[in-house]
């Protein structure tokens, strides 16, 4: 019995780990190696600034971690090609787990990292942010969007919108554009991101005089059937369904709504970005879907188009919002370093104080892919204009 149990457990672990490894691409390793090589050759004058990246490269959230890693690598290559201050990114896997995130952080700290880039996910970021705050190391996160990440920590900055900020913006957008008076909210109550946006949306929508007819939830691990939730929205006569959820469950919601002939306006957050690139998804289902995302891969704007081209060449997939956030993070760090006169031989603590002063300075702003003229307040939250897109003819149209 012992032996069988052992084999069974080993097998189970193997399968689950292999399943988690699906997101990995080989080109990532090559480009990482080449960017390191480039940085070491050109590091003569200004030195190499060591940036420690943390995010999930394996496990269920790997798709986001890999995107933030690859987006940042593209930026690092561009920056290093310019000469001058060089960046070296060491990106460590945290499996989206706070414990592993802190482990990865400690490992990077032992290797002499000077700036933290990460974490990708909120839970891990919260744990790591407390450590960087104690150790006085500057931290910029591409996508950990909870307001708690930066609360009370002057050294932590975000490049993405906060969850409550996004919820409030969405509610105001719906009110101002008179999209609907009766709204339903559908969210994942086992997920911090989804809950954070939904609760802020509900509070703001009520304050704006919208009629929130129903608040429907689903748990984190059973998200395949939404007919009950959709029926509640339909019975309540909701003209708009706000669903700040990730695109995988959202695709099922759209499909099930269609099969029950329910066609309200569906409105999503930035987690919805990527739905059109989803494999096996019928794009016509998403027609009319509105979403708030700071990044549009189909944009013809020169810098974005250039980034998308480089990304596709290097990794073979279209970058999503997470990759663009990662790209912007590297540029934000780089530009702040140039402005503050940070050199690679400074200690992490000195760099931290310099970068905090620069980021919160009123004359510091970054033009990135996810927004132009991004500025930061002392609370670490970014301020940039939100963009609302609507899906038309299988592509995004700015609203």
């Amino acid at each position: 019995m012992k032996k069988y149990l052992a084999m069974l457990l080993a097998g189970a672990m193997c399968v689950s780990l292999l399943a988690g490894c699906g997101g990995g691409d080989k080109p990532a390793d090559k480009s990482a190696a080449s960017s390191n090589a480039a940085s070491s050759s050109a590091s003569a004058e200004a030195g190499v600034l060591k940036i420690g990246g943390i995010g999930p490269l394996t496990g269920g959230a790997a798709v986001y971690g890999v995107a933030t890693k690859q987006g940042a690598e593209i930026a690092v290559q561009e920056i290093n090609a310019k000469g001058g201050l060089q960046l070296a990114l060491d990106f460590q896997d945290d499996e989206a787990d706070p414990e592993k995130g802190v482990n990865a952080y400690n490992k990077l700290k032992g290797d002499g990292m000077q700036v933290v880039y990460g974490c990708t996910t909120t839970g891990s970021c919260l744990a790591v942010a407390a450590e960087t705050f104690n150790d006085r190391i500057f931290q910029l996160t591409p996508s950990a969007s909870s307001a708690d990440v930066t609360a009370g920590k002057d050294n932590v900055f975000q490049i993405c919108f906060t969850d409550p900020g996004q919820g409030m913006t969405a509610a105001n957008y719906v009110t101002e554009n008179k999209l609907a008076t009766k709204v339903a909210v559908l969210y994942n109550n086992g997920d911090a991101y989804s809950t954070g946006i939904a609760q802020a949306f509900i509070a703001q929508a009520k304050a704006n005089g919208l009629d929130v007819v129903t608040e429907q939830t689903f748990p984190d691990d059973t998200n395949t059937d939404f007919t009950v939730q959709l029926n509640a929205a339909k019975d309540g006569g909701a003209e708009l369904v706000f669903m700040p959820i990730y695109y995988t469950p959202a695709s099922l919601v759209l499909n099930q709504a269609k099969s029950m002939n329910y066609a309200p306006i569906f409105f999503g957050g930035d987690g919805m970005d990527g739905i059109l690139e989803m494999e096996g998804f019928d794009k016509s289902l998403a027609e009319g879907l509105m979403l708030m995302t700071p990044f549009n891969a189909a944009s013809t704007e020169e810098r974005t188009a250039n980034f998308v081209k480089q990304y596709v060449d290097a990794y073979g997939t279209t970058p999503n919002q997470f990759a663009a956030d990662g790209y912007d993070c590297m540029y934000a760090i780089y530009e702040a370093c140039l402005k503050a006169g940070v050199t690679a031989d400074m200690s992490a603590q000195d760099i931290c104080e310099q970068l905090i002063a620069t980021f919160t300075a009123s004359d510091f702003s970054v033009d990135g892919l996810t927004g132009s003229g991004m500025t930061w307040g002392t609370n670490g939250e970014v301020s940039k204009a939100p963009l609302v897109f609507q899906v038309e003819n299988g592509g995004y149209t700015a609203r």
């Binding site: 193997c14 689950s16 802190v102």
Partner: protein, 358 residues
């Protein structure tokens, strides 16, 4: 060759187990004082202690009592969140950190024990694999309950809600401690390696003493042959429950220690995978082998971090799994076992025995 009496053998055996733990602690403290431990290892010391305690406690259920528990992370979760809530709400009342940690661990242990009692009373009356099924469900239930639970504290005491943070209705100066899926985000870290070491020693003392007592022999007799044990008048439910609740209590204390090592902790951490991870420690270390559990827990916690050094990137966890399988094959293989036992005989001729406390 000198033969030792069984009781004397046990004493020697148990002293070796205590010795290993104490010596490891002293060595690490000396190295730490000399600044020879990297931050990566330093940060792992407390989780290792928590996992060792988890492994010891689960071994009591799986190894000695012969029941399969697939929801041990659920007890850890109960201990972790109750401990954190207690610690944060008593911040003013008990200013001393170590005392607050001890109180948090105590409350976590008691509540986890209570949960273990509630789960155990109906299930341990049954024969078969029902405990595995029920504990599996228990782990998931606890995770989902904590995911929707909001707890806050103000001058009137604790407030609970399952709706949202606003519904707590906190008064002036109140603050939310547990925020549903966000978990606890403003924890004050109190755990230290010394506290972890003390917990491991307590767990060892409790489990080794229980196993080598009259009650422990009854538990093992029930494992080996239930009918024969019942026929000599051993009460099945009582002894099984004793082992199970003790195990839950220790898991709760380990959970509190673990949670107090991080400034944020969410229910998602204590899912099925964590239960299985602890079960892997136990199975890899050997069922009923306490020393094996300790070594396996420490080894498997350090291994993935060690693999970071090899720059494997996303293949790191794949290598981890392969190493795990190889270790399992090696330790469970008959010929490799004979090899190890003959090696041991050559090295320490007088300690001729097999297995740990079994």
């Amino acid at each position: 060759m000198k033969q030792l009496t069984p009781s004397r053998k046990k004493l020697v055996n148990n002293s070796i187990t205590y010795g290993i733990v104490i010596i490891a602690y002293i060595i690490i403290q000396i190295l730490n004082a000399g600044g020879m431990i990297s931050p990566a290892i330093q940060g792992q010391l407390v989780p290792i202690c928590a996992y060792i305690t988890m492994a010891i406690s689960l071994n009591l259920v799986v190894g000695f009592s012969g029941e399969l528990s697939l929801g041990h992370a659920g007890f850890m979760s109960v201990g972790a969140f109750s401990g954190v809530v207690v610690s944060l709400s008593l911040q003013q009342a008990i200013p001393s950190g170590p005392v607050r940690l001890a109180v948090a661990m105590l409350v976590g242990a008691v509540l986890a024990g209570l949960a273990g009692f509630i789960v155990g009373v109906p299930v341990l009356r049954l024969q078969g694999d029902y405990l595995a099924i029920v504990t599996l469900a228990f782990g998931e239930i606890i995770k989902n309950i904590i995911n929707i639970l909001y707890v806050g504290v103000d001058e009137n005491g604790l407030r609970f809600s399952i709706a949202n943070e606003m519904a707590l209705g906190l008064g002036e100066g109140g603050r939310a401690i547990l925020k549903g899926p966000m978990g606890v985000t403003t924890n004050v870290k109190l755990s230290s390696f010394t506290a972890g070491f003390i917990l491991v020693l307590i767990a060892l003392t409790v489990v080794l003493n229980l196993v080598n007592s009259r009650a422990g022999r009854a538990v093992m007799a029930l494992r080996d042959n239930r009918i024969a044990a019942e026929s000599v008048g051993i009460q099945v439910t009582k002894y099984k429950l004793m082992a199970f609740v003790t195990s839950a209590v220790l898991a709760g204390a380990a959970g509190a220690l673990y949670a107090m090592n991080y400034s944020s902790i969410a229910a998602k951490k204590f899912d099925f995978n964590t239960s299985i991870l602890v079960l892997v420690f136990v199975v890899l270390g050997g069922l009923g082998n306490i020393r094996g559990s300790i070594v396996a827990a420490a080894f498997l916690t350090v291994l993935p971090e060690f693999l970071r050094k090899l720059n494997l990137d996303q293949y790191r966890m794949l290598v981890y799994a392969i190493v795990l399988i190889l270790v399992m094959l090696a330790t469970n293989n008959e010929s490799s076992r004979i090899f190890f036992s003959s090696l041991r005989q050559k090295l320490f001729g007088s300690f001729k025995r097999k297995g740990g406390a079994r």
